[in-house]
C-alpha cells in the first residue's frame, strides 16, 4: 500500500505526516507523530484511552482513520496544559489522586475537558454518563468524578 500524505493541525500546530491508508488516527498520532500521550486500550472503541478531539468533537481516535485528519484540527492530551502550567482538570486529578496507574488518565482528561467546554456545570449523573465511555480499572471512578466536579466549580468561580 502506498502511504498517503496528510496535512493536519495537532494542538494548534500544523503537521505533515505520511500514513498508511488503514492506519487509525491513534496510530498516526502515536507512531507517525510520536505523540504517545494518547493510549490504546482496545482499538475497538470500548475503553476511551485514545480520546482526542477532532474539530472540537470528542472521538475515539482508534475509530477514526489517520487520513480523516486531513484538513482538520486534532486536540490531544499533549495540548491540554498551556504554556503557563497545568489545566485545572490536570491539577484536580493530581490533588484528588484520581489516577493510580495513570494509563486511562489522558483519555479521561481529554473527555472531561470536552464535557466542561460543553456543559460548565454538570451534575454527578451527567459526569458519570459523559465519562461512561472511558474505562478505568484502578480507581473505581470515585476520585475521578470528584476531580471533575471540583474542576468545574473552580472554573465557575471568577478568578
Amino acid at each position: 500500500m502506498a502511504k498517503v500524505h496528510v496535512s493536519t493541525t495537532v494542538n494548534g500546530q500544523p503537521q505533515e505526516v505520511l500514513v498508511e491508508p488503514n492506519d487509525s488516527l491513534l496510530d498516526t498520532l502515536r507512531d507517525g507523530l510520536g505523540l504517545t500521550g494518547t493510549k490504546e486500550g482496545c482499538a475497538t472503541g470500548d475503553c476511551g484511552a485514545c480520546s482526542v478531539t477532532l474539530d472540537g468533537r470528542l472521538v475515539c481516535s482508534c475509530l477514526v482513520l489517520g487520513v480523516e485528519a486531513d484538513g482538520k484540527e486534532v486536540g490531544t492530551i499533549e495540548g491540554v496544559a498551556d504554556g503557563d502550567g497545568l489545566h485545572v482538570l490536570q491539577q484536580k486529578f493530581l490533588e484528588h489522586a484520581a489516577l493510580q496507574c495513570g494509563v486511562c488518565t489522558p483519555g479521561f482528561i481529554v473527555a472531561a475537558k470536552a464535557l466542561l467546554e460543553k456543559n460548565p456545570d454538570p451534575d454527578e449523573t451527567t459526569i458519570r454518563y459523559w465519562l461512561a465511555g472511558n474505562l478505568c480499572r484502578c480507581t473505581g471512578y470515585d476520585k475521578i468524578v470528584r476531580a471533575v466536579q471540583d474542576a468545574a466549580s473552580e472554573l465557575a468561580t471568577p478568578a
Binding site: T44, Q90, G102, Y141
Partner: protein, 738 residues
Amino acid sequence: MAEAVDLKAIGTRPVRPDGVEKVTGRANFGADLSLPGMLHAKILRSPHAHARIKSVDLSGALAMDGVVAAISGKDLPGGGDLGVNILAKDKALYHGHAVAAVAARSAYIAEVALDSIKVEYEPLNPVLSIDAAIADGATLVNESMHTNGDTSQPASNIAAITKFERGDVEKGFADADVVVEGEYRVPTAHQGYIEPHACTATINEEGKATVWCCTQGQFDVRSMTAQCLEMAVSDIRVIPSEIGGGFGGKTTIYLEPVAVKLSAISGRPVKMVMSREEVFRATGPTSATLCRTKIGAKNDGTITAASAWLAYEAGAFPGAPVGPGCMSVLAPYDLENFAIEGNDVLVNKPKVAAYRAPGAPQSMHAMECTIDELARKLDMDPLELRLKNCAEEGTVAPYGPQFPAIGLKACLEAAKEHPNYTTPPAEGQGRGVAVGFWFNIGMQSSAEIRIAENGAVTIMEGSPDIGGSRASMCLMAAETLGVPYKTINAHVGDTEATGYCNTTGGSRTTFATGLAVIEACEDIITQCKQRAALTWELDVDQVDWQDGQAVPKPGVNADVKPLSLADIARSAGRTGGPLLGRASLNAQGPGASFSVNWTDVEVDRETGKVDVAAFTAVQDAGRAIHPSYVEGQMQGGAVQGLGWALNEEYIYDANGVMENAGFLDYRVPVTSDMPMIDTQIIEVPNPSHPYGVRGVGETPIVAPLAATSNAVRDALGFRINDLPLSPPRVLEAIDANG
C-alpha cells in the same frame, strides 16, 4: 517497634512525584517506546482449545516481502510450563495458545504473514469445566499429570490437593444447633488492566539483551526470560516502563522471550504489543471455581465447625491460586474444628495468573454467603454473628501462624457504628455484608537514597509504581529524614540500576520496599551524624538528628549551629564524599489485612438488572501513609469486585472458544454503573513496621462478591448461589422462584 507518634508527613495527601508526567501524557508506558530500525512482531494462536501440533511450517511467512524472522515452539527451549505457555510445543492447550511468531517491517505485515504459516493440528477433545475435568474417564489435559506428583495413582486433571484441618469436624457439626450448607460457583474473570502487555527487546552481538516492558517486576521478567531462552540473568537488562495496571496479571511474562529471540535472529530491535482480544484469550485471567461450604453453630451464634471443599480451574498448567483460597476461606474466624480441601484442576483454558488477592474472592464468596445464611437462620445481625466468632490477636489462623495485632474486630465495630449501616436500606433495596481478608507478603527489597549537593533526596528502588507507591516512599522518607516531602523524588530502577527487588504484588510494596527506604534513610542519618561530629569535632554519640538537622545532644557543650541535610550535603566532599544510604532486606511480618464491606442494591424485577445504590468499605490499613491512595485501593478493589459479582465472566462456546473477548462484551463497570464508594480507614498498626504499615492493595476486592450476593439475596428474598448476578441469571431466578 515503638508506635510512631507525632507524624508530620505520613498521613498527609500530597501530589505524587510522578503525577505531572501522568496527567500530561509524558509518562512512557509499555507500548510507548520506539527504537530506530525496529521490527514489529505478532503471534499466531491456536484455533483449537486442545490439539496435538503435528507440524509448523514457517516458510510461507518467511517468503513474504517485509517479513524478517519467524519462530515456533522449538525455538524456545527452556522455561518449563512457562516456556510452553509462551510458545506451544507438542500440544495447543487452549484456544489462543501461542504457536508461532513473525517479525516484520510493520505490525500490519506481521499480522498478514501469520496467515501464511502452516500448522497441522490433530484436534483433541477439550476439557472445559471442573465437573468435566474431575469426572471418571475424563480426557487428560496433560497425560503425565498425577495428583501431588503421586505416580502410583493414575494420571489425573487434579494437579494438587491442599488440606488444612483442625479439631474434630464431625463432632463439631454434631454439636451444632443449626447447620448451613451451600454450593457456589464463581466464573473466570480477567484483571482487565487497561494497558495491554507490550515489550521491546534488543540483543547485541555479545549476547547482551535489553528488554523494555510494562511489568509488576523487572527482576522476575529477567529471570523468566533467562529461563525460557536458557540465558544467564546477567545477560539481560530489564527496564520497566510505567505500568498501566496489572492487578497480578503482569507478574508473569508472555512476550519477552519471543521478542528477544526474534531480535537475535533479525539483528534488530523487536516490538510486540498485544491486542485487547489477545489479552483476553491468552493472558492470565483468574480461576473459575466450585466451592462447597458447611457451617454448624449453636443457637447463640458460636460456630462449632466449618468445612470447605474448593476446586479451582488452573487453566492448562498447574498453579490455580487454590492454596491462598484455602488460607483465606475461614481466616476471619476463630475456630476449634474445621476441614478445608483445595483442588488445583487442569482445563483447556488459558493459564491463570494472579488477580488481586488471588484465590480469596472465590472461596470467601462461598463462605461469606454461607455465614449470611447462618445469620438469617439464627435471626442475628450479620455483623454480630461475625463479632461473636472473629479472629483476634492471638488467634491461630487456619493456615498455621498466630495472628499478631489485627484489625478485624475494629473494622466490625466501626461498621456497626457507621451511619451507612445504622441507617436501614431504602425501600425496595437489599443490603448485604461480608468480610474480606488477605494475608499480605513481605519478601526482598532494596533501596538506595542519594543526596544531591543541594540536599535534595533521590530514592532509587525496584518496585514498579502501580498506584502511587512513589508517593508513599517519599512520605516515609520525609518522615524518617525529617525533610520536606517536596525535596524528595522516587525512581523505579531497572535491573542494572537498583538492587534486587521482588515483584510488586502481594500488597508488599509499601510495607517491604517501604521498610528498605526507611532503613536506607536511617543509614543517611547515621552518616549525617558522623559528618556533623567530624565538622564539630565531637564524638558521634554526642550528635542527634532532629527535624532534618544534626544537633548536639542535650547537655553537650558545643557552640554550633544545627547542620541541615543540605548543609551536610554541600560540604560532603570535605567530610568523606557523597551521601549515599543503602538498605536491602527480606521483610518479615507483613501483617494480615481485614475489611468489612456492605452494599445496598436494587433489583429490577422486569429486567433482572442489579443497581448498586451504595457501597461502604471499612478496612484496616495498619497506618495509611497516603490516605488518598489507600482509599483509592479500597474503591478500585470494590469496583472490580462489584464487576465480578454483577457482570464479568468468560463465556465459552462448546469448543472452548471465548465468545466475549473484548470490553464491549466482557463488561467491566463503567462510571455510570457505580455510586461513590464510601471508605473508612481503620488503623491497627502492624507491629512489624516502624510506622505500622500493612499492605492494603488486595483485600478490597475480596468482600464485594459476597456482599453483593448477600444484598441481592436480601432484595429478592431468595438466594442465587452462582456469580455473576447478571440480568439473564437474575431474571431466570426470578422466573423460577415465581
